[in-house]
């Protein structure tokens, strides 16, 4: 038997009262994979992310990492196992400096205790220095141009996105979940994001994206999972998904109220 996949989601279900947000979602992510989850607004993509990372307790199904069940763990425990994430609407620590934001990702790896901090022992100084150096490294990696000593909320939007990715990378993940990383970015920034995603993959980190920008999704993904009304309607390579009539129909049926012909749909997706 081969080794279990890095991430395995099996028959994941989540309902709030009578509303079913995720309805039997299953997919796997292998080491170093890039997978995108797409679907119209309200399809349950972010809910699925929240279930995987422990923020929601799924009503059914199982999430495992390397064959280990992580379904009931709290978010910090999931993060400690090597699953890192960003949020759909930026969740930076706005009043803290950019560097402090990235240091948050290193929390579990900074070796010091309260006594070290009170006495400023050599161990304290060393761990602080390492944390700062590593924070700078990750900010270099994501190509941050802005002031690193500034409060994070004062950076331009695109820069804040980079800081959030740097923070997630600083956690040292094996799997990185990005919730709409291209939202609100201009064309140039999107190209830089594309480049960044490639470099993240080169580090051996598997990526799962939720993304609406189809150009980006088609270009970067190895596999695409399509959701609609919490149900998985397709899972395949960009090529397969692009040509899947069910996807084209479902995708446009809810996103666009006006009836759209197949020709328009083709244009939208490619």
């Amino acid at each position: 038997m081969s080794a279990p996949p890095l991430l395995q989601v099996e028959d994941l279900r989540l309902s709030f009262g009578g509303v079913t947000a995720v309805d039997g979602l299953s997919f796997t992510v292998d080491e170093g994979d890039i997978l995108s989850v797409i679907g119209p607004n309200g399809a349950g993509k972010t809910s699925a992310f929240n279930c995987i990372t422990g923020f929601y307790k799924p009503t059914g199904g199982k999430v495992s990492l390397d064959g280990e069940d992580i379904t009931r763990l709290r978010p910090s425990a999931v993060a400690a196992k090597g699953v890192s994430r960003t949020f759909q609407n930026l969740r930076l620590f706005g009043e803290l400096t950019v560097l402090d934001n990235v240091r948050a990702g290193m929390h579990l790896r900074i070796k010091q205790n309260a006594i070290d901090a009170l006495l400023h022992t050599p161990r304290f100084r060393k761990s602080e220095r390492i944390a700062t150096e590593e924070a700078h490294k990750w900010l270099d990696f994501v190509g941050l141009r802005g002031d690193r000593a500034a409060e994070a909320r004062n950076l331009p939007y695109g820069e804040q996105r980079r800081v959030e990715i740097a923070r997630a990378l600083a956690r040292g993940p094996r799997l990185l979940l990005l919730d709409e990383p291209a939202a609100g970015l201009n064309h140039g920034e999107k190209n830089e994001l594309l480049d960044l995603l490639g470099r993240i993959r080169e580090l051996g980190i598997a990526l799962v994206l939720i993304e609406h920008d189809m150009g980006l999704v088609m270009q970067v993904s190895r596999r695409i999972v399509v959701l609609n009304f919490g149900k998985e309607i397709a899972d395949g390579t960009p090529e397969q998904v692009r040509n899947d009539p069910a996807v084209v129909e479902a995708y446009l049926g809810t996103e666009d109220e006006t009836p759209a012909g197949p020709a328009h749909a083709e244009e939208e997706i490619s």
């Binding site: 990372t53 422990g54 923020f55 709290r74 978010p75 910090s76 425990a77 993060a79 400690a80 890192s84 994430r85 949020f87 969740r91 930076l92 620590f93 706005g94 009043e95 803290l96 400096t97 560097l99 402090d100 240091r103 948050a104 990702g105 929390h107 579990l108 900074i110 010091q112 309260a114 070290d116 901090a117 009170l118 400023h120 304290f124 761990s127 602080e128 220095r129 944390a131 700062t132 700078h136 490294k137 990750w138 270099d140 990696f141 190509g143 141009r145 690193r148 000593a149 500034a150 409060e151 923070r167 997630a168 956690r171 040292g172 580090l203 051996g204």
Partner: protein, 329 residues
């Protein structure tokens, strides 16, 4: 002018300046009255710095902080008067009692969101006071008398001047300790929790443990201040630990600037000394005090000396020419 002021506010020798002022103050006026006012101000600073860990760093609203103060004062007072311990020897027991109290109150309540937490802590403050009022060992409503002064070895530090300087040393260490904790890994985690609990969790920070740590740290600071309080007054009673105390300490924190050490120190001095300075106004002094507080909060809602993010290491940083540093996993 404004930049001059802000550079003064970032001065790294600020702590030494504050210590020098505290050390020199008795040379300006050393009457028993002024020493007592200044000693009370120091205790207030210690309490405010402790509460600042909970409210300022971690963003948890605590309306019953005087409870920890009471636990420290009673623990050391009972041990000193009934079992003849020296006050210094009670320190470890007070710390232990504060930790236990912090866990007992914080344990179940820190899972609550902030508004509920405020109500529960308010109730807890009252429970401690009423318990002290009804227990025999705490002397009931009349409290404990004859708490000895502090002495180290054979050296008696109970004269007003000696006690004042003892407090200067103790409070300086407390302020330094709180500030250092605030700039450590744990202190950052407190701020992450304050800013965004979910994002902190996503970074692997166990937010519940981090909040409990803030609560326990605050309890220890409050408990230790309680020892000094008992030594200063030589007598304590349940009336010493009313809700007004909790409110005044919280006021010092908010007024000075939540999360800012210099701000909180100034806020504490302001809140404790101002009513004394207004004694000339007789019956109107608390009225004037109240009006002044309202005015400050209207014109400076962030506090007189607000905190703002500072990056100590950033100044030393190389210029950004090598923006493609290789990152090794």
């Amino acid at each position: 002018m404004a930049s001059k002021l802000s550079s003064l506010m970032e001065n790294r020798y600020l702590g030494w300046i504050g210590l020098a002022i505290a050390l020199l103050a008795p040379f300006v006026s050393a009457t028993n009255y002024s020493l007592s006012v200044m000693t009370s101000a120091l205790l207030f600073v210690m309490l405010a710095v402790g509460l600042n860990i909970v409210v300022g760093y971690c963003g948890l609203l605590d309306l019953g902080y005087a409870a920890f103060f009471a636990i420290g004062a009673y623990t050391s007072g009972v041990l000193a008067t009934r079992y003849d311990w020296s006050l210094l020897a009670t320190i470890p027991v007070v710390i232990l009692a504060a930790v236990i109290a912090g866990v007992v109150i914080g344990g179940p309540t820190l899972r609550l969101r902030s508004d509920y937490l405020a109500i529960v802590t308010l109730g807890f403050g009252e429970i401690i006071r009423i318990t002290a009022n009804n227990l025999e060992i705490t002397g009931g409503p009349s409290g404990i008398f004859g708490i000895p002064g502090i002495s180290i070895g054979g050296l008696d530090l109970s004269s007003p001047v000696a006690f004042y300087y003892t407090c200067v040393v103790a409070v300086a260490l407390a302020v330094l300790g709180a500030a250092r904790l605030g700039r450590s890994r744990l202190g950052r985690a407190w701020r992450f929790v304050r800013e965004d609990e979910d994002a902190a969790e996503a970074m692997g920070i166990h937010t519940y443990k981090v909040k409990l740590a803030a609560y326990i740290a605050g309890a220890i600071w409050g408990g230790l201040a309680g020892i000094l309080f008992g030594a200063q007054l030589t007598a304590i009673s349940p009336q010493s630990f009313t809700f007004l105390w909790s409110a005044l300490i919280l006021m010092a924190v908010v007024l000075g600037g939540m999360g800012s050490t210099p701000g909180v120190v100034i806020g504490a001095i302001f809140v404790s000394v101002l009513p004394e300075l207004l004694r000339g106004a007789a019956d109107y002094r608390y009225f004037i005090f109240g009006v002044l507080l309202i005015v400050v909060m209207i014109f400076r809602p962030q506090g007189v000396w607000p905190t703002h993010a500072v990056e100590r290491s950033a100044r030393k940083r190389r210029t950004d020419d090598d923006s493609t540093v290789e990152v090794n996993q």
